[in-house]
């Protein structure tokens, strides 16, 4: 199934809004609490997943390809969020 122009545009708008939301959250600094680290990285992970699925069309690949990128995405998210959260 090939991604339509409409789906691509909805994805783009979602990515733009999510990017601005993460920026606003982090700009609030330490006032928001350290849980914001996880929220910011979850937003990054969802954005990366959307780029892989809709823009790169990873959904055309086999389960093995999807699993490999799922591992990569999960590892990067957990690594960055975890080490920021637990290392003060």
């Amino acid at each position: 199934m090939i991604t339509t122009a409409r789906t691509l545009t909805i994805t783009w708008i979602t990515l733009m809004v999510a990017t601005i939301a993460a920026f606003v959250l982090c700009e609030m600094g330490s006032d928001v609490g350290r849980w914001a680290i996880w929220v910011a990285m979850l937003i990054a992970a969802v954005k990366a997943g959307a780029v892989l699925h809709f823009f790169m069309e990873l959904h055309e690949g086999t389960a093995a390809w999807k699993a490999a990128f799922g591992v990569w995405l999960s590892y990067c998210t957990a690594l960055i969020a975890g080490l920021y959260y637990f290392t003060v």
Binding site: M1, I2, T3, T4, A5, L8, T9, T11, W12, L15, M16, T19, I20, A22, F23, C26, E27, G29, S30, V32, R34, A36, I37, A40, M41, A44, K47, A48, V51, L52, F54, F55, M56, E57, H59, E60, G61, T62, W65, A68, F69, W72, Y75, C76, T77, L79, I80, L83, Y84, T87, V88
Partner: protein
């Protein structure tokens, strides 16, 4: 959706470039691991140094890359429909928008270096220049590939397998530049603010 074996071999729907993309992504994961483990024990230094970066410039660059990716994705969608003129138009639009990323990155590098902040200032900036520099090389490669597409593809024959495969493959590479930045941006610019 094609069969599993066809997807493994590589085709217009799932080209062989995915193997390169996966290897590149895992290479960056190793770099992320090095940076994040080096931060342990000197988190205060890393976070103070990171606050010398401008998160607003990082935000603008992220929005530029996302928009460039969207425009290239529209070019691929047009090519798949056999709309050669549309594909070329979206590729040129993607190039135009994405060129702003390079301009802003060069502005960032020159202002930092002229302020005396270089790769040897401290560990944070060593890794900051390394990560963003390697990413920038990928950006240059992607821009070069997009320019090569615009000038070398016969867009009147965009439905032919060879032309379409090139457009889809370069598109996937370009999205990877966006994909990697989606992790570099919070790691260097955003999370140190919290």
């Amino acid at each position: 959706m094609q069969s599993g074996k066809a997807a493994e071999r590589g085709s217009v729907n799932f080209p062989s470039i995915w193997a390169f993309i996966l290897a590149d992504c895992f290479s960056f994961a190793i770099l992320f691991t090095i940076v994040m483990t080096e931060r342990i024990g000197q988190a205060d230094l890393f976070d103070k140094a990171a606050r010398q970066l401008d998160p607003a410039l990082g935000l603008i660059n992220t929005l530029i890359l996302i928009t460039g990716s969207w425009l290239v994705a529209l070019a691929v969608a047009a090519a798949r429909r056999g709309d050669g003129a549309g594909a070329r138009k979206w590729l040129i639009a993607g190039l135009a928008v994405s060129s702003a990323f390079g301009a802003i990155k060069l502005y960032e590098y020159t202002t930092k270096i002229s302020a005396g902040i270089t790769p040897i200032t401290n560990d944070f900036f060593t890794y900051c220049y390394m990560l963003t520099g390697l990413h920038f090389l990928h950006y240059i490669g992607g821009m070069g590939a997009l320019i090569a597409l615009v000038f070398n593809i016969d867009f009147s024959k965009v439905s032919e397998t060879s032309a379409l495969n090139w457009i889809v493959s370069v598109g996937i590479f370009w999205h990877m530049v966006d994909l990697l930045w989606l992790f570099i941006y919070p790691m260097l610019y955003l999370l140190p603010l919290i």
